[in-house]
């Protein structure tokens, strides 16, 4: 911390004491001595408790990673000087970090030369929040001397809170044999499908002996193959449209996108399915290779927290990325506000290559609300064009659904599963 500096309060008490005592002595005014007395005592008190060396500040943030709406505590310990009377911490205002008290200023009295400051922080929106410029001041008695410092910036990653999501339908059968979703085909698995006659290659432990004795021939327990779904999440981070008010208020397009993607990832990854993620259009492209489990969910959410909306320039490259990494054995979920026609073009391109593609529309409904009438009209015109583009994409066989939480994808996934059982025309 900086060296101790005298404050205007000390100068005021010293000046008042010296001037009044001098006048009292010169003009023989004992009454002025009475008026000077408190200032003289305060000056003497302040001088006796003058700190000689600078204190030290040790600060930390309780949790480096949070979920939206969760809170942590910034703690600062000012010590090393016996004359610390008061410590003050001032947190700069951040749009997405709430402090308690709301003003962002906390005080702590010094006890035995140590003052402990605590500022509860609540992150209200996903993303990497930088807590910087916490100004900490230490004061001696009567606020006579002050020293201060500014803490180094600290980052708190705020993971998005996945929306509520559930899906009852299962996508088409895949190559592997892991996961919990029932396949649409019989195979090796845990889900009982029915009894059938023994065929060459059946495992001995599958034979149902009571049933075999009754019917006089070998019968086996048939099962549905366990499903290994690879859900590839493609996140359009080109723009962040609409107003974001954090976890407690209105959501922007990127808020909806990230929370929906988080919900889908949580649903599948925790059920043993493989989930991968890729972003496009943002300042930095984030990718997470496919894997399953809670660790994978954490990886996906962590990368989502680092998404920063970029410009339209990244859209074309993103399209190439999507095509390059896609394979026919996965279900691609593309989440986008669908303002850029490039995204729909890429979705159609993927679909024509025989891939299962679902487009989730994440444009918030409040985007049309605008103070400027001309801007509002421009939005209405663009939304009319967008509606036409979506109709064309749907006509090309690419389902486009609006994100509505649980059940958003049920019908779409059933359609995909049904379609995959039949012959397909694929453009190579």
């Amino acid at each position: 911390m900086t060296p101790w500096q005298p404050t205007p309060a000390l100068l005021r008490s010293v000046a008042a004491a010296v001037v009044l005592i001098a006048i009292a002595l010169i003009w023989r005014r004992p009454d002025l001595l009475v008026i000077a007395a408190p200032f003289a005592v305060v000056t003497a008190w302040s001088s006796l408790n003058r700190p000689t060396r600078s204190p030290t500040l040790v600060d930390s943030v309780g949790h480096p990673t949070l979920r939206e709406g969760d809170a942590t505590v910034w703690r600062g310990a000012v010590d090393g000087v016996p004359h610390i009377d008061l410590a003050v911490a001032v947190v700069d205002h951040d749009a997405w970090v709430e402090t308690r008290p709301e003003c962002g200023v906390t005080t702590a009295p010094g006890d035995d030369g140590r003052a402990l400051l605590e500022v509860p922080l609540r992150s209200t929106r996903w993303g990497v929040r930088t807590i910087e410029r916490i100004q900490v001041s230490a004061l001696s008695p009567w606020a006579a001397y002050r020293c201060s410092t500014v803490t180094p910036p600290r980052t708190v990653a705020t993971l998005p809170v996945p929306g509520v999501f559930d899906v009852g339908a299962s996508p088409r059968p895949q190559d592997g044999l892991v996961g919990l979703h029932r396949s649409t085909r019989a195979g090796d698995g845990n889900e009982f499908a029915g009894l059938r006659a023994f065929r060459a290659g059946d495992r001995m432990r599958r034979i149902n002996w009571p049933r075999s004795i009754r019917v006089g021939e070998l019968q086996v327990n048939g099962t549905w193959a366990d499903l290994d779904t690879h859900v590839a999440l493609m996140i359009d981070a080109t723009d962040d449209l609409g107003i974001s008010e954090g976890i407690d208020g209105r959501a922007s397009s990127l808020d909806v996108t990230v929370r929906a993607a988080g919900a889908i990832a949580e649903h599948y990854a925790t059920r043993g399915e493989r989930v991968s993620m890729a972003t496009f259009g943002g300042r930095i492209a984030h990718t997470v290779p496919p894997a399953s489990g809670r660790a994978q969910l954490r990886r996906v959410l962590d990368q989502m927290a680092r998404i920063q909306p970029g410009g339209a320039a990244g859209t074309a490259g993103a399209g190439r990325l999507a095509v390059g990494q896609s394979s026919g054995s996965r279900m691609t979920v593309l989440l986008s506000p669908l303002i850029s026609p490039h995204v729909l073009d890429q979705a159609v391109s993927l679909g024509r290559r025989g891939m299962s593609v679902v487009v989730i529309d994440t444009l918030p409904e409040n985007v049309i609300d605008h103070d400027d009438d001309l801007t509002a009209i421009a939005w209405r015109i663009r939304l009319l064009e967008r509606r036409r583009e979506i109709r064309m994409v749907s006509g090309a066989g690419i389902p486009v659904v609006r994100w509505r939480g649980p059940g958003s994808l049920d019908q779409v996934i059933r359609d995909i599963a049904r379609r995959t059982t039949g012959p397909r025309l694929v453009r190579r």
């Binding site: 005021r12 008042a16 001037v19 009292a24 004992p30 009475v34 005592v41 008190w45 005080t107």
Partner: protein
Amino acid sequence: MVDPTDIAVQVRKMSPQRWAMAFAAVVAAALVPIVTGLAGSGQSPVILAVVVGLAGASATQPDSHVALTVPLVGVWHWTASTDASTSGWVLVVAVCLFAFHTLVALMSTTPPRATVDTRTAVRWLGRSIVVASATGAVWALVIAVDRVDLAGSAVVTTIGFVAATTLMVALIAPRRSQPSR
């Protein structure tokens, strides 16, 4: 140079506690010319307006030297209006000026939007009572000296003042290792 816009923004963000402290500081400062008028040759609205204005400016900018003008104007008014009065009014003036100084000093520790915690406020109140008691002791000493027919002897009064201050310092010194109270 202080930007008036910044002051307006700070005033708008002031916490209720800060408003209360600012109001108390202005009232304490305003009492000085009022009490001076009662002890001397009558009220002076101009001086009262000047003191209130300076006190208000001090409350909005407590970490500045504006607050120094309030005791100077108040003492000048007292000196010009009264004739070495050692009545109880001088004690009231001394306590009012000290209260103003303490409130402005406390306000200077935090930004206007802040609320000082209760422990700190109680600690400052306790210390203020100690200092006010010392002021009362000095005033009693002045009265005592006045009664033994040593009126006008500033030297003796100064000796008494130094003695009272030394006594206070002696009381405070053992607490230096325990500044919590």
